[in-house]
């Protein structure tokens, strides 16, 4: 992990374990996830659907739906303070002020019966002691900052009067309005068309520099990760299986699963999709995980040890990467 010299992390997650009580049994959706995050840094989280990316991030805001969910163990230190187990009132003060989250669906993420201006002002006034007038001015400014044309006029619009891209910009404005130290973006562009995607991501990168925030970016688009993130965390079945600087990860993946993910990126978009190499098999059911390494059922290098023991995260020789694998690719 690239720890900037002399800086303290804004966010430290240690051995986080989250379980869900379901009809079929207890599902461990997040299993011992740890990472650190520094101001100005962007961490990308990638992994197949259902591997626990969203749940991990929800936990950072204390938003894991309880019940059925529950943080079993681990700690989350935000600006030096452990927020696991914090009371509801304290948690509310942190949400939106110290840590903000942008969600995937801009179409439904805003309250449809209030104007965007109203919703923005609401957040600003909750976390600062701005007057109505000041909050309004600041909201207009934020809309301008995220690149919405004629922001003063847009304040009176309802969400359904805006395009998807604009709504996501409003969400970003809302998330940044109280100058949080951490911004979590959960697939912020998945629901947008390609051109808008690029614009929104570009805007986010600009703003991150401007506000000196730490950003967690969840996405399925590895291209975006390569462009925007310093570090990447690869998750599989609730566990981190590789964590490395983006530069190294994309050129020299250590975990066979990461390699598989990278290989599945279409070089020329949308062409000859069938011939792409795919990781064989299916993600195992969280209720009946393999005994050893969770990827062993699909891994072409897996041997008996892989099937019997769970590898822990360790530095792979000759790289900056931490990898949870007995036979990482560079070492064999």
């Amino acid at each position: 992990m690239t720890a900037p010299v002399g800086k303290k992390p804004v966010l430290t997650v240690k051995e986080l374990v989250i379980e869900f009580q379901t009809e079929r049994g207890v599902v461990r959706a997040v299993d011992g996830v740890s990472f650190e995050l520094y101001a100005g840094q962007t961490l990308g989280i990638v992994g197949e659907s259902g591997c626990g990316k969203t749940v991990t991030c929800l936990a950072l805001l204390g938003l894991v739906p309880t019940p059925p969910g529950r943080i079993v163990s681990g700690s989350i230190e935000l600006n030096g303070r452990n927020i696991v187990g914090l009371g509801d009132r304290e948690m509310r003060n942190i949400r939106g002020r110290d840590i903000s989250m942008i969600f995937q669906e801009p179409m439904t993420a805003l309250n449809p019966v209030f104007t965007v201006g109203n919703q923005l002002c609401e957040v600003i006034r909750r976390h600062t002691d701005a007057t109505r007038r000041q909050a309004h001015a600041q909201a207009v400014e934020m809309l301008a900052v995220v690149g919405i044309p004629a922001p003063a006029k847009r304040m009176g619009d309802y969400p359904h009067q805006l395009s998807g891209g604009m709504r996501q910009r409003v969400m970003i404005a809302m998330a940044l309005s109280c100058n949080p130290s951490v911004l979590v973006a959960d697939e912020p562009t998945t629901a947008l068309d390609v051109t808008t995607q690029a614009q929104v991501i570009e805007q986010m990168v600009l703003l991150q520099e401007q506000f000196d925030m730490a950003v967690i970016l969840i996405t399925h688009d590895l291209g975006v990760v390569a462009e925007t993130c310093e570090d990447v965390m690869v998750m599989y079945c609730g566990q981190v299986i590789e964590q490395a600087p983006a530069s190294g990860l994309f050129t020299r993946p250590s975990h066979p699963y990461t390699a598989g993910l990278l290989a599945s990126i279409p070089r020329i978009r949308r062409e000859r999709l069938q011939e792409l190499p795919v990781i064989r098999g299916m993600v195992p059911d969280l209720l009946s995980l393999p005994m050893g390494c969770r990827f062993s059922t699909r891994c072409e290098y897996a041997d008996q040890r892989c099937q019997a023991q769970i590898p822990s995260l360790r530095t792979a020789t000759g790289t900056d990467a931490a990898v949870a694998c007995f036979k990482p690719l560079g070492e064999a």
């Binding site: 002020r97 439904t108 449809p112 019966v113």
Partner: protein, 317 residues
């Protein structure tokens, strides 16, 4: 202007509904209904007397003409005289409707309000024991027949076998304290019966809304619970809530509560309607049906305008 145009369109659009309701009721009640001729005649009527009564009742006219006469009655809001008392139907309704409203309104409002509050509490503690207890009581409430509640409440509150606090029958209201004396037990019965259904309905609506993305967004920005319930949940659940309340209004206003009024001997529209049913008093029945249909159309109109008020996404089209 836009509203006026919209209203006009809606009312015109409601005409088929009014025609349908009145036609079916007319066909069943009047055309296939009982022949009242001989009840209105003395013993051993002459042929002329029979003729004149039949003409008075309109029986000598062809079916369609009689139906058109009925429609004209609805348009002019003049339904003639009651068969049994000879009183003008209009004056009967004018006398009884306020009584029905006075009897039913408190229970209607409290039943919905309490239901909403219980639903909010249950939904907020979703799947906890509070929720389970509230929903358990709702099912029990839904399973007890209105009749049983009415009889039991009268027994408990109005008879010497119980507390005997309130009069068991009638409507002798000249002051507020009279009103409270006569309205309390019917109101409690109405609330008891409606509460189970209302709570369940509102809870389902609220839980559905609580699962929406924008509620999660609001929580992610630190919205406190009271605000969350009001701004995100209630404000967004208003459409189903308004629908439910609005569409029970026509039946409540016109039919009143037939069971409450007959059982407690309250001279409201419900009782008048019940008596008209048992006596085949067609002018009154025609008025009740016709007015209900008209009120339904007006309700549709007002409901649509309310939708527009509470939800910016709805446009008056």
């Amino acid at each position: 202007m836009e509203i006026l145009q919209f209203a006009l369109r809606k009312i015109i659009g409601g005409i088929p509904l009014i025609l349908g309701v009145t036609f079916i009721s007319f066909l069943l009640m009047v055309y296939y209904g009982p022949d009242k001729t001989y009840e209105l005649l003395g013993k051993n009527p002459t042929a002329e007397q029979i003729e004149s009564v039949r003409a008075e009742l309109g029986y000598d006219q062809p079916f369609l003409q009689r139906y058109v006469t009925y429609l004209r009655e609805i348009v002019t809001l003049d339904f003639g005289n009651s068969f049994s008392s000879g009183e003008r139907v209009n004056s009967i309704l004018k006398r009884t409707m306020p009584i029905s409203l006075a009897v039913i309104t408190p229970g209607f409002i409290l039943g919905n309000l309490l239901g909403l509050v219980l639903a909010l509490v249950a939904a907020y503690h979703r799947s906890g024991w509070i929720d389970k207890a509230i929903m358990g009581f709702s099912v029990v409430g839904m399973s007890i027949s209105f009749l049983i509640v009415v009889i039991a409440f009268q027994l408990i509150f109005c008879s010497s076998y119980g507390l005997n606090w309130f009069p068991s029958r009638g409507w002798d209201v000249y002051s507020l304290s009279d009103y409270l004396r006569f309205v309390t037990v019917p109101t409690m019965a109405t609330i008891f019966v409606a509460l189970g259904y209302n709570t369940r309905f509102y809870r389902a609506v609220i839980v559905e809304e609580m699962g929406r993305d924008h509620v999660r967004t609001a929580r992610a920005f630190g919205t406190p619970p009271a605000q969350l319930l009001y701004r995100s949940v209630l404000k967004n659940s208003l459409i189903p809530i308004i629908t439910r309340i609005m569409f029970s209004i026509p039946l409540v206003v016109i039919s009143g509560s037939l069971i409450i009024e007959t059982y407690f001997g309250i001279p409201g529209v419900g009782k008048v309607t019940y008596d008209a049913i048992t006596q085949g008093d067609q002018p009154i029945l025609k008025a009740v049906v016709g007015l209900t249909a008209v009120l339904f159309v007006l309700t549709l109109l007002i409901t649509d305008i309310l939708y527009r008020v509470v939800d910016p996404r709805v446009s008056l089209k």
